[in-house]
C-alpha cells in the first residue's frame, strides 16, 4: 500500500535554535505510528509543522507529502482545503482547544460546513451523529451545551468527533490523553480506535507514555534532541532496542506489574536545543559512550528489517534485564511498627458549591471528603491514590493545615489537631514537612537555593544554617557549591531535589509528598524515586505519598489506599492490593493502566468504566461506585443490588492487611 503521508528531512528552526532536525517517516492507511519523546524532544513541533500550524517565526525545511502533494511551501488556501478534510488533529488540552463562547454542536457543524456543501441544519444533524459515535450520552441535548459544561474526557471526545467529521485520511493526535485520568484515558483510547475503524485513517500518535504506545501503535519513532534516534515495529523497539536512549527510557519507567527494586535512571538531563553537545547528542548521558561518539552525529543505521537506530555501537546494546539482573525476589512483608505517626479517622470536608463567576451563588455542597480513615506507622510509606475528584488532595490539605477537622479525628505525631495550641502547632510543623508536585512552583523564584534551604532553619530558630545547607545539598546529590544559584538555573529533577532537601532541613519524622514526580520526565523521575527510597531507609522517615500514578506508588509505598469520590475504596499492603485487588474500582483502575509491554498489552482485557465520575455534590446513594461498577451492572442479581443501593459499605478487613469497601468484594487478578 502506498503511504498517505511521507515526511522526509523535516527541519524546524526558531530563529537560530533548531527544534527539529531531519525527521522522516511515512504512514500507510490504517496504520498507527507513535512518536515518542520527552519534553523538548521536538515531537509536538513535528506534528504542528505537518499541519502548517507553526507560529510565524518558525522556518520549516524538508518535505511533507500528503498523497504525493507537497505541503511545505504550499499556498495557504491549498492547506486550508486539506486541514480538517484530509489531515485532522486532536490536541492535548481539550479545555483550551474548544472556543469557549460557542456551543459544542455548532463548533463541530462548523468543521463539517468548511469542507462540505450542506445546510446548517444538516450539519448540525451530522454533528449530533458524530457526538453519538464518540460515545457522548444524550448527544442531541449535549450538542447545545458549551465546552465548559463538559468534563475533560467528554471534551476530548468532542475533539475527536471534530477530527473525524470529514473522514480524514490521517489523524494526528498530540498527547491526546496526557491531561486525563487513567480510566478516562482508557475510554478515550477506545474511542480513538473506534474512530480509526470508522474512517480507516492512519493515526500519528504523539506521546511520552510508553504504556499507551505499547497497546496502541504498530510502529514507533523515538525522538531525542529534535531527531529520530530509533524507528521500528513496536515489538522490535520494545524487546530488541538498539539505541541506549530507548533502553534507558524503558528501564526507567515504573511499572505496576513489578514491585519494588531500583529503577534505572538515565544520568543527567536532555540537552538544550540551543546548545547541543558535539557528536551524538545522547553521548554525555550514555553508558556506552566512547570517544568515537563525539566525532559526528550518528545517522540512522539499518539494524534489522524496518528497524533503524542512530547508534554506532548498536550491536552491543542490550535491553535491561536480559543480562540476568532481574528484579530480586520480593522482601518478606515486614511487621508493621507499633508507633503511629499519623492517624486519620472519619475525616469529613465539605465545600460550598458556587456557581457563576460574576453572580456567585451557592447552589449546593461538595462533599470532597466523606469519612476517610487510615494510619501511618513509623518508617512506613502510605500511598494515597485516586483520580481527580477523588478527594485525595483535600485530604492532604486538611492534614497539612493542622486545623480541627469538620468531623472526624486527625492525630498528627500523637497530637489531636482539634486541641492544638499555637506552640504545639509550630512544633508539629517542624516535624512534618511537605514536598510539592511542581518543583519550580514550590520554590520562590526570587530566592537563592541557600536562602530557600535556610528559611525553615531560620523560622524554627536553628543557628548556623550555612553548614546545614551544604550538608543537605550533598544529601540529595547536589553540588553544595551551587547554593548561590536560583532555582530557575537547575533542571526539573535537580529542582525537585532542592524541594526534598528543604523538606529534610529540620529532620522531620513525617514527609508528605504531593505528586512529587508527576511533573518530571520519565528518565528523570526514576532518579527522584530512587532518592526518596534511599532517604527513607537512611533517615527512618515515614511518607504520606499522594499520587495519581499507581505505578510510581507501587515502587515506593508499603501500603496503599485507593480513594473514590471522597471515600476509601480499598486499603492494604501494596503487593496484596496490586496483585489481587478486591474492590471493583481498584480492579478497573489497575486494568486501565497500560503496560510498556506490547505482547501483554495485546492480550490483556480491560475493564472499562462507563461515563464520568459522579459529581461529589450529589453522590449516589448507598455505594458511591455503583453507578459505574461493572460488577453491579453485570454480575449481581437484583436482590444483591438492593444492598448496594441502600447501604454505603465501609472498609472491611478481608485479608491479613487488605480491606475493601464493597459488599461483594472478591480477589481478582487484573494486571
Amino acid at each position: 500500500m502506498r503511504p498517505v503521508l511521507e515526511v522526509t528531512g523535516l527541519g524546524v528552526r526558531f530563529g537560530d535554535v533548531p527544534a527539529v532536525r531531519g525527521v522522516g517517516y511515512s504512514v500507510r492507511p490504517g496504520e498507527v505510528l507513535a512518536i515518542v519523546g520527552e519534553s523538548g524532544s521536538g515531537k509536538s513541533v513535528t506534528a504542528a509543522a505537518v499541519m502548517g500550524l507553526l507560529p510565524p517565526g518558525a522556518r520549516v525545511t524538508g518535505s511533507v507529502r500528503l498523497h504525493g502533494q507537497e505541503l511545505i511551501g504550499a499556498p495557504e488556501r491549498a492547506l486550508g482545503a486539506l486541514r480538517g478534510k484530509t489531515v485532522s488533529m486532536v490536541f492535548q488540552d481539550p479545555l483550551s482547544a474548544l472556543t469557549p463562547v460557542y456551543r459544542v454542536g455548532d463548533q463541530i457543524a462548523e468543521a463539517v460546513r468548511v469542507h462540505q456543501r450542506v445546510s446548517k441544519e444538516n450539519a448540525l444533524v451530522k454533528a449530533v451523529e458524530l457526538l453519538e459515535l464518540v460515545g457522548i450520552p444524550r448527544p442531541a441535548e449535549r450538542a447545545l451545551a458549551f465546552p465548559h459544561e463538559f468534563s475533560g474526557g467528554m471534551r476530548q471526545r468532542v475533539m475527536i468527533a471534530m477530527a473525524i467529521a470529514n473522514d480524514p485520511d490521517v489523524i494526528i493526535c498530540d498527547e491526546p490523553t496526557t491531561a486525563l485520568d487513567v480510566t478516562i484515558q482508557a475510554q478515550v483510547l477506545e474511542v480513538l480506535k473506534k474512530a480509526q475503524r470508522e474512517t480507516g485513517a492512519a493515526i500519528i500518535m504523539i506521546t511520552h507514555d510508553l504504556g499507551v504506545v505499547a497497546g496502541f501503535a504498530d510502529r514507533v519513532l523515538v525522538m531525542y534532541a529534535g531527531r529520530p534516534v530509533e524507528v521500528g515495529a513496536v515489538d522490535d523497539v520494545y524487546y530488541r532496542p538498539r539505541m541506549p536512549y530507548t533502553v534507558g527510557l524503558l528501564g526507567s519507567v515504573p511499572r505496576i506489574d513489578r514491585d519494588g527494586g531500583r529503577l534505572v535512571p538515565i544520568e543527567g538531563s536532555p540537552p538544550s536545543p540551543a546548545a547541543l553537545p558535539p557528536g551524538c547528542p545522547f553521548g554525555p548521558r550514555c553508558p556506552l559512550h566512547v570517544a568515537a561518539c563525539d566525532e559526528r552525529e550518528p545517522p540512522l543505521l539499518e539494524v534489522g528489517e524496518g528497524h533503524r537506530a542512530a547508534c554506532i555501537r548498536w550491536q552491543e546494546v542490550r535491553p535491561i534485564g536480559s543480562d540476568g539482573s532481574e528484579s530480586l525476589p520480593p522482601p518478606p512483608v515486614a511487621e508493621r511498627a507499633a508507633r503511629t505517626v499519623l492517624e486519620v479517622s472519619g475525616l469529613v470536608k465539605d465545600y460550598p458549591l458556587l456557581k457563576g463567576a460574576v453572580f456567585k451563588r451557592r447552589v449546593g455542597t461538595v462533599h470532597a471528603v466523606a469519612g476517610v480513615g487510615f494510619d501511618i506507622r513509623e518508617g512506613e510509606t502510605l500511598g494515597l491514590v485516586g483520580e481527580s475528584g477523588s478527594g485525595k488532595t483535600t485530604t492532604l490539605t486538611e492534614i497539612l493545615e493542622l486545623a480541627a477537622p469538620q468531623a472526624g479525628r486527625l492525630v498528627v505525631l500523637g497530637r489531636d489537631t482539634a486541641r492544638l495550641g499555637r506552640g504545639e502547632r509550630t512544633a508539629i510543623r517542624r516535624d512534618m514537612q511537605v514536598v510539592f508536585q511542581d518543583p519550580l512552583a514550590s520554590l520562590d523564584p526570587r530566592m537563592t537555593v541557600h536562602d530557600l534551604l535556610a528559611e525553615p532553619l531560620r523560622t524554627h530558630g536553628r543557628p548556623q544554617p550555612e553548614l546545614r545547607v551544604a550538608e543537605l545539598l550533598s544529601l540529595v546529590g547536589l553540588d553544595p557549591s551551587h547554593a548561590a544559584r536560583y532555582p530557575q538555573d537547575f533542571s526539573g529533577g535537580q529542582r525537585q531535589r532542592i524541594g526534598i532537601a528543604r523538606a529534610l532541613a529540620l529532620e522531620p519524622r513525617l514527609l508528605v509528598l504531593d505528586e512529587p514526580v508527576s511533573a518530571l520526565d520519565v528518565s528523570i523521575q526514576a532518579g527522584v524515586i530512587n532518592l526518596l527510597g534511599a532517604l527513607k531507609a537512611r533517615l527512618g522517615l515515614s511518607y504520606l505519598f499522594v499520587a495519581h500514578d499507581l505505578a510510581v506508588v507501587r515502587h515506593l509505598a508499603d501500603r496503599v489506599a485507593v480513594m473514590y469520590l471522597g471515600r476509601i475504596a480499598e486499603i492494604g499492603q501494596v503487593d496484596a492490593v496490586y496483585d489481587t485487588p478486591m474492590h471493583p474500582y481498584t480492579q478497573a483502575l489497575l486494568s486501565a493502566i497500560p503496560l510498556p509491554d506490547p505482547a501483554r498489552e495485546r492480550s490483556r482485557r480491560r475493564i472499562l468504566l462507563e461515563g464520568d465520575l459522579p459529581s461529589p455534590a450529589d453522590p449516589p446513594t448507598g455505594c458511591r461506585f455503583r453507578t459505574r461498577c461493572p460488577k453491579f451492572r453485570a454480575e449481581l442479581t437484583d436482590d444483591e443490588r438492593g444492598l448496594c443501593v441502600q447501604v454505603e459499605p465501609d472498609v472491611r478487613t478481608l485479608a491479613e492487611d487488605q480491606g475493601a469497601a464493597c459488599h461483594y468484594a472478591e480477589r481478582r487478578v487484573v494486571v
Partner: protein, 302 residues
C-alpha cells in the same frame, strides 16, 4: 562566629566558573537592549537634567521680571520668550517642570506602596480584613476624586504641596490594589507560599518576604505608569486652579495661563505643552519597556 550570608554565598560560588546573572541584571539588560526603553530612559534623564540643572545656565530666575520685555517672542535674552508680566518663560517652565516631576514621582511612590500593602493584606488574609479593605477601596473608587481634590484645594495653599501630593496619591492606588489583591489570592495557592505556610513561617512575614517581592514586576511597572498618571492629574487640576497654588508653579498652572495667550503668543503655550507631552511620553515608554523586560514571555512567545 559564622560567616555572613553573603560571604558564604561567595565562598560557595568559588567553585562555579560563571556566576549566574542576577535577576536584576537580566531585567536591566533586556530593558536597555530595547530601543523603546533606551530612548524613554534617555529622554527622561534629559528632562530631569533640564529641570534641575537647566535653571543654572539662565540669567533669569522664575521670580525675576524683565520690565523691558513684555510678551516677547523667544530671543537670545529670553530663550522661550516672556509673559505679559515680563517673566521669563524658560525659567518658569523649568520651575514648573521641577514641581511636576517631584509631584509625579512622590505621588506614584506613595500610591504604589499603598496599593501593594492594601492589596496584599486583603488578598492574603481574606475574611474580615479583606472585607474592610475592599469596602474602603470601593468607596474611594465611587467618590469622585476630582471633586474631593477640588474641594480640598484651599488647603493646598502656599508651600503645602506635599499635602496635595498625599491626597493625589490617595486617589491613584485603588485599581492597582484590586489587581494586587487578585494576584495575591492566586499567589496564595501557589506552592511556594503554601510551602512557607506549612513550614511555619508567620503570615505577615510571608506577605513581606514572599508575596510582595513576587509582585515586584507588576508594582514597578505600575509605579512608572502612575508617575505619568499623577503628572497628568496634577496638570488638569492645576489648570482649573485646584492643584498647585501660586506662587508655586507647575505644568498645569503654566498651561492654564499659556492657553489664554496662545493665539497671539504661541511661545507661552507650546513650550510647556511640548515638554509636558515629551516627559509623559518618556515615562510611558519606560513603563512599557519595563513590563516587557520583566515578562519577556508575554511578547517573545509569539
Amino acid at each position: 562566629m559564622t560567616l555572613s550570608q553573603e560571604e558564604l554565598a561567595e565562598e560557595l560560588t568559588g567553585g562555579v566558573p560563571a556566576r549566574v546573572p542576577s535577576r536584576l541584571r537580566t531585567v536591566a539588560g533586556r530593558f536597555f537592549r530595547s530601543r523603546q526603553g533606551l530612548a524613554g530612559f534617555a529622554v527622561l534623564a534629559l528632562m530631569f537634567l533640564l529641570a534641575f540643572a537647566g535653571p543654572l545656565v539662565s540669567r533669569w530666575s522664575y521670580i525675576d521680571k524683565d520690565f523691558t520685555a513684555f510678551l516677547r517672542p523667544p530671543s537670545p535674552a529670553h530663550w522661550f520668550g516672556t509673559l505679559q508680566t515680563g517673566a521669563d518663560v524658560y525659567a518658569l517652565t523649568l520651575r514648573g517642570m521641577q514641581k511636576s516631576l517631584v509631584v509625579g514621582l512622590l505621588a506614584a511612590l506613595i500610591s504604589t506602596a499603598l496599593a501593594a500593602l492594601v492589596g496584599a493584606f486583603a488578598g492574603y488574609f481574606l475574611g474580615w480584613t479583606d472585607r474592610v479593605l475592599s469596602r474602603l477601596t470601593d468607596l474611594l473608587l465611587v467618590l469622585p476624586a476630582f471633586l474631593i481634590l477640588a474641594i480640598m484645594s484651599p488647603l493646598f495653599g502656599a508651600g503645602q504641596w506635599v499635602l496635595f501630593v498625599v491626597v493625589l496619591a490617595l486617589f491613584l492606588w485603588m485599581v492597582t490594589s484590586k489587581v494586587v489583591r487578585g494576584m495575591t489570592i492566586s499567589l496564595k495557592e501557589r506552592e511556594f507560599i503554601r510551602a512557607a505556610r506549612y513550614m511555619g513561617v508567620p503570615p505577615v512575614r510571608i506577605v513581606f518576604r514572599h508575596v510582595i517581592p513576587n509582585l515586584s514586576s507588576l508594582l514597578i511597572v505600575d509605579a512608572t505608569l502612575n508617575v505619568s498618571a499623577a503628572i497628568l492629574t496634577e496638570t488638569s487640576l492645576s489648570y482649573f486652579g485646584f492643584g498647585i497654588q501660586p506662587p508655586d508653579v507647575s505644568f498645569g498652572t503654566l498651561i492654564a495661563d499659556g492657553s489664554r495667550t496662545a493665539m497671539y503668543a504661541p511661545w507661552t503655550f507650546w513650550f510647556v505643552a511640548g515638554l509636558l507631552v515629551v516627559t509623559v511620553l518618556a515615562v510611558n515608554l519606560v513603563g512599557d519597556a519595563l513590563r516587557d523586560a520583566f515578562d519577556p514571555a508575554a511578547k517573545r512567545a509569539r
